[in-house]
Symmetry: C2
Subunit: 298 residues, 2 copies
Amino acid sequence: MAFKKILIVSGTHGNEINPIWAVNQFSKEEKKIDKNIEYKYIIGNPLAYERGCRYIDSDLNRSFNSINNSINNNIYEINRANYLVEMFGINGSDPCEIAIDLHTTTANMGTSIVMYGRRGKDFCLASLLQHKFGLPIYLHEKDKIQTGFLVEAWPCGLVIEIGPVAQNFYDLNIINRFLIIMSSLRDEIDKLKNNQINPPKGLVVHVHQGSIDYPREKYGNIDALIHPKRMNQDWKRIKKGDPLFIDMEGNTKTYKGEEAIWPVFIGEVAYKEKNIAMSYTKKELINLPNKIFEEFFS
Amino acid sequence: MAFKKILIVSGTHGNEINPIWAVNQFSKEEKKIDKNIEYKYIIGNPLAYERGCRYIDSDLNRSFNSINNSINNNIYEINRANYLVEMFGINGSDPCEIAIDLHTTTANMGTSIVMYGRRGKDFCLASLLQHKFGLPIYLHEKDKIQTGFLVEAWPCGLVIEIGPVAQNFYDLNIINRFLIIMSSLRDEIDKLKNNQINPPKGLVVHVHQGSIDYPREKYGNIDALIHPKRMNQDWKRIKKGDPLFIDMEGNTKTYKGEEAIWPVFIGEVAYKEKNIAMSYTKKELINLPNKIFEEFFS
């Protein structure tokens, strides 16, 4: 890949405002630095940001499988997805080879990476960040209900997902974490290019298995909440009998599966409408042959 | 006042969901208890709750000064305010003598009381709760920009304001605090009625003085955030020179006033659109003559 530009997208969800602030600050500081690899910055969903909501008509980060679908051309986010790809896609007018999409979550995910499917170039980037910071990685794959993620429209791309932080709430600690990721990412790529780093031999990922909805009564209303022992316990292993939910009468609903799982996005506010109280994963070690790092710049 | 019914309003702001859950749970438990004083329950803004937003057209909790204003009859919240008063107002079809309006805030306000103006009956109720729990009280008065609060449309009423909690985020600790307030409030009134309590001699209030907006650049965008030393420090006294905001370059903006103040609602997410980064108060001790407690039931 003739490696020149990385697209940094913030505000793909309009109420995740800390990445937007971080990018603004980063781009001001960056003008003073001379770098080989250029960053391009764009707000994914500027109208939703202006209105302080996640999206206008539909979730932008599920809208990239409908590109060029003229039937949907009244949907703001489909048009916006088209625009972003036409502008900054690999065949766009200002092409970027990599897309980094910055998100926040109300769940206690810490600083984490989300990747979609098993692309060699994504593994390279993700392993560099995990190698440096020990970040957990959520590998989202084989989920037929959730598709059309932004970074999938680029040949290489990752989501950086940081939490917990409330929607529309500025948090300087969260902002600082995005600043660190943005500067580190380019540093690591630069080092790799200049053979100043030993490529990692592998990485640990949490592979998406499915999602669990809240218990609901007959009209579809939520009638039990995340159990206090499960709240904020993202990335922590649970086994059969561990509590998941608690209802108004104090009854506990437990995990019934035979195999241990690792829940993520526990209680994420924006996923209630998707009928997701938490998703769950299994841990997997992935070996990385040296040649995928060599191919990264080819 | 022929004292019979207390109206408990939750979801006056549709994205403050913990009070709605708490009321639902409380009303289920309550069916088992025989009480002299009846509670009525209503969701203030059901459509906004359904959509997960604060309001549809305008802030319901600023809409009670426009009652019977037929010019505004296309505004959902004005119609809703009219309905609530016609239904549960003191001259309504199912009259309630007291309104308790349950709110959450993203600011670190703890469990607190908000009252509007200096009404004797409000002071009675507020002092009973402060006497029992030591709750801080925010006395909102003489603010020409913000008027039309729900509880002002009843002869007696308080806002219970609990935080910090994110919008649309369920938090069992917050829910439990509302449950405690709802049961305690009636217990205290019951005790007062049966002469089982010594009426408090006074109460401490934080009296609203004004609000401070975020620093903004020429296009109106926020260009400095709440300083880390000010975040979560609601109800704490500040003096000249104490930091208020910090910008992207790390410059600090300090408090310039000569007199000490006590900020509240620091960084409340919903107040950004009202150009409020925080409000500020002064402390005042208010003496309560015994006769206002005697008049409470008259």
